[in-house]
Symmetry: none
Subunit: 229 residues, 2 copies
DNA sequence: CACAATTATTGCAGATATGCGACACAATGG
DNA sequence: CCATTGTGTCGCATATCTGCAATAATTGTG
């Protein structure tokens, strides 16, 4: 999962630099180019999660870049936000109809662009837009029901999954076995306290990768917690 | 597949009528209300494919409606386009951050709204916009009612087709058997949960080609999902 | 160090969930 | 009307999970 990758295609150097700075500050992995043809190459290379595309650029025009990306199966699903100095309504319509997901007219506020990019990403890749929980090198995506560690996919049983999810929702905090039983198994479960130990062990085994530390901390006579960092 | 269902929440009668007319002309099934509380009821009732929401309305305010819809699991994924007379940047940001998918400031041209609604729908429900969906090596063309894998045409029964279409509209996401029953069979179907298994198996068989992996993932105790990419 | 308390590990039997084939019946289209 | 195809349920086989208890290992304490 890691950082959302953005490709910024913009030939106004001042604007490009400003946007690059702002987006990097928000935790995006940004690549910049000012040329349409180069953009097409870069897209194939880095497969960004979203493209910000100026209409008027060197080489192949923005709208043509958009059209070509949409035609290619590999890139057809990458969301595109178009920027333009032209305020003409027809351009907007044309941009949106060509397959752009959003369209901003210059001058626009960087904050609005940030918000629109986030909105599009939230829709397209919920896992990237902070809907997934991330603790240390663990990433859990609830909608996909998927857990990764260092980019590697883990397979956990149902209870281990729920247990890990709960711990990741409250990293660093220590929970007694009873608290875990209530939270993970449901209130009033008639289950032996010691059974939690067993599932903790299964979870540890499930998230274990060679060369990694055990992020689950045992707190003697208190319970367990998941190390935040 | 029918028509895309729209809920228009707008309390300026003139604007509401104009938009209703335009959208109906474009082939949408439009429901109109001018009241926030009524909007919430209508949403639950008709489960529209997209909501156009004015910020300033009677009853519960637009942004509050948006917030509530996002909180409810049933309605959290319905796209929302917000309209407002207020041009303030902070409002835009706030609207987008609350979960709106797009945001227009009055006055706007109906054509632009049309184009933006189409763009959002294309992204969220490509099938409604008549676009073909492609996930991994699967391609589904809703207008031709046809499914291909690696260029090879598959033949699926009606239910398998609808099931695959739904899964392809939300790749990667895990759905419980009940969610699939609601989505594919229709709300309140009186069908055995385990029947979903059977259709999943039929679907798997239907999309199976020698030398391909099974893209349908079983998530024990949770449901099924279609692997993206 | 010896001892008690606490936690880790393991194997296992019972419980659950899913896959699979079969079947009766409904719907569909000549 | 018949043949064909699709649909919803069962029941059983299989894979996986779960909770427990017995045993080993660890930690803390005087």
């Amino acid at each position: 999962m890691s950082l959302p990758k953005l490709l910024l295609v913009e030939d106004d150097p001042a604007l490009a630099e400003l946007l690059e700075f702002r987006f990097k500050g928000e935790g995006y992995d940004v690549t910049v180019t000012d040329d349409g043809d180069e953009a097409l190459i870069l897209v194939a290379e880095i497969l960004p999660d979203l493209i910000i595309l100026d209409w008027m650029i060197e080489g192949t025009s923005g709208i043509e870049v958009c059209r070509r990306l949409r035609r290619n199966k590999e890139t057809a699903n990458i969301p595109i936000v178009m920027l333009t100095a032209r305020g003409a309504e027809d351009d907007k319509i044309r941009g949106l109809e060509t397959g752009a997901d959003d369209y901003l007219t210059k001058p626009f506020s960087p904050r609005e662009l940030l918000a629109r990019v986030a909105a599009v990403l939230r829709r397209v890749r919920p896992a990237l837009a902070g809907e997934s929980i991330s603790v240390g090198d663990l990433v859990l995506d609830p909608t996909a029901h998927r857990v990764e560690r260092r980019g590697q996919r883990l397979s956990l049983g149902p209870t281990e999954y729920r247990l890990l999810k709960f711990l990741m929702e409250h990293p660093g905090r220590v929970f007694s076995r009873n608290q875990l039983l209530d939270a993970v198994w449901g209130n009033g479960s008639e289950i032996e306290e010691r059974t939690v130990d067993v599932h903790i062990r299964r979870l540890r085994k499930g998230i274990e990768l060679t060369g990694t530390n055990d992020p689950i901390r045992t707190v003697r006579s208190a319970g367990y917690s998941l190390e935040p960092a």
